[in-house]
Subunit: 328 residues, 2 copies
């Protein structure tokens, strides 16, 4: 029965972001056969988020003509501190009301009717780019997820490098001693200059001080409550001076921080993902490469710098890969 | 014949530094049974340096009651670009007249009468700390060599991580975008604040501008032509304000740069070696740890920070370990 066989190999993947939830269903060759996107709930804490994750995957499965209980398994890429064995997520600071620990895996498994495995969001997205995306030609790479924050994942010698479990925090590379305050509370971090959150705070301060910008007008036109990646892209297209200036500072910080990582690790490639990274695309990956160049210790053989090949779906596809590992 | 047996297991190791050459002879258990130190020649280029390396190892062997031809092999830890297969060293910028490539391995082998293998100086020193020094309890560590420059070596999951061959350049982590000029020609590097060379240049500029300091008086008293680690230590002991200020800036830069590496790699330990690192000892390793703390993303479990357990001899002992691999 071919139908029954295909149901057994299909897997689900969910990327739980601070702004949105992306869900996919993939077949045995990791081709996306269904997808869905929903906003991340801003109220109700972990149970509300869990309910939206279930709804998102159910919709993606529906698009593939399946029930979630027909999936061979589902993976979730989550922010915060993930304990894969217990299926818990703790201290997911970007998700409102998620300071403590919540048993997300068990909660989802009972609702979805399939096995669920939780992994770290940037780690699974990096693995997806390594196995299926822009990172395929390389054995070692750094994934940089340029979005609300700046996250990172490492593949070293063909395997994810996790250190003691929390490796990859390139967003908290100190690019300027005594520099700008970061959302993490520290100062001078890359994310304090390049995170979408920090960029928005800077724009707001400047606008409040009377600096002229269309950023907030564009935000309202698009019925947004935040300066989304799309708003930034539009403002730059319109040559908004403040937007250009803030993005320029972000590129400088990314260039310095990523070059420092290359000087330390001497790896082959950098893959730029995340909301801003994917929206801005390869032209901005090239600009980051150009800003890295003056800081590279071995400047005659810079690493390749690619935009994420899987685009916005990398996190969800990576989560589906995680499920493959879980179900064997 | 026990005598003959011991001659076959003894190995030589030479650390080729910008200021001095350290040579050791070790027995089969890697215990140092002879050592010698000589200044690095400032004239005559690679052939003059090679002659001094031979003389240093001959003296170390003599102290162990051996001829160099009785050694099972000898290793050299060298700066510059090392090709271990060919035994060549190129672009050793800290060594006068060593811009091109020189076949150091073959030149030494014929003079010493034993097999010679060349490795990268900081890599062999890091491996020595990992296998025999302060790094023994750990599977992953960063070696930071705080001397004329700031070098680094990585052990990840029990093995040296070399990347594409040049990993470990923590000295060229950008700690301040738009910051001080580094001897490497770039700006804002850790080494521009913490390298002994940069620290001396800063002290000289300040003294030339009339700033009061005993640094250069101490240098002359000790019959030195540079501000050696000993001069810096003495000046700090005497509470020389300029010396304290410059070392303070160096510690800030080391704290930020090393913390950034930990945020990226989440490894267990940091070992601080190099001329200044060894001279200043564990109290300064502790100060570096304290300066790292405000920048650590996971600050509740900082890495261990130790001074190099093998002291000044780590590089030479590491080179001798390299010889074991070559002849083993």
């Amino acid at each position: 029965m071919p139908g029954s066989s295909s149901t057994r190999v299909a897997r689900g993947g969910i990327d739980l972001g601070g702004t949105k939830i992306e869900a996919v269903v993939v077949d045995g060759r990791n081709t996306v056969i269904g997808s869905a996107r929903r906003p991340t709930p801003t109220e109700g804490g972990p149970p509300a988020v869990a309910a939206e994750l279930v709804a998102a995957l159910a919709r993606a499965a529906g698009a593939a003509g399946l029930e979630t209980s027909q999936l061979a398994g589902a993976g979730v890429g989550s922010p915060g501190i993930v304990d894969s064995a217990a299926g818990t997520v703790a201290s997911a600071g970007n998700l409102p009301g998620w300071e403590g620990s919540f048993a997300l895996g068990p909660a989802l498994a009972s609702e979805l009717g399939t096995a669920v495995i939780i992994g770290n969001d940037v780690t699974v997205a990096t693995e997806a780019e390594f196995k299926l995306g822009s990172g395929r030609p390389y054995r070692s790479l750094l994934g940089v997820f340029w979005g609300t924050g700046v996250g990172g994942g490492l593949i070293l010698g063909g395997k994810a490098w996790l250190g003691r479990g929390a490796a990859g925090e390139i967003g908290h590379t100190v690019v300027k001693i005594g520099g700008a305050r970061c959302p993490c509370g520290r100062s001078g971090c890359l994310e304090a200059y390049a995170g979408r959150g920090s960029m928005e705070a800077r724009a707001r301060r400047q606008a409040d001080q009377g600096r002229r910008t269309d950023l907030f007008k564009l935000m309202k036109e698009r019925k947004r409550t935040r300066l989304t990646s799309g708003v930034w892209a539009k403002a730059i297209e319109r040559e908004d001076k403040l937007a250009i200036e803030i993005v320029d500072t972000a590129l400088d910080a990314l260039g310095a921080g990523v070059a420092s990582a290359i000087n330390l690790l001497d790896i082959e490639a950098v893959v730029i993902g995340g909301g801003l990274g994917v929206r801005f695309g390869q032209p901005y990956a090239d600009r980051i490469a150009a800003r890295m160049q003056p800081h590279l210790f071995i400047d005659e053989r810079p690493p390749a710098v690619h935009v994420a090949g899987l685009g916005d779906l990398g996190g969800a596809i990576g989560a589906a890969l995680l499920a493959r590992r879980a179900v064997g």
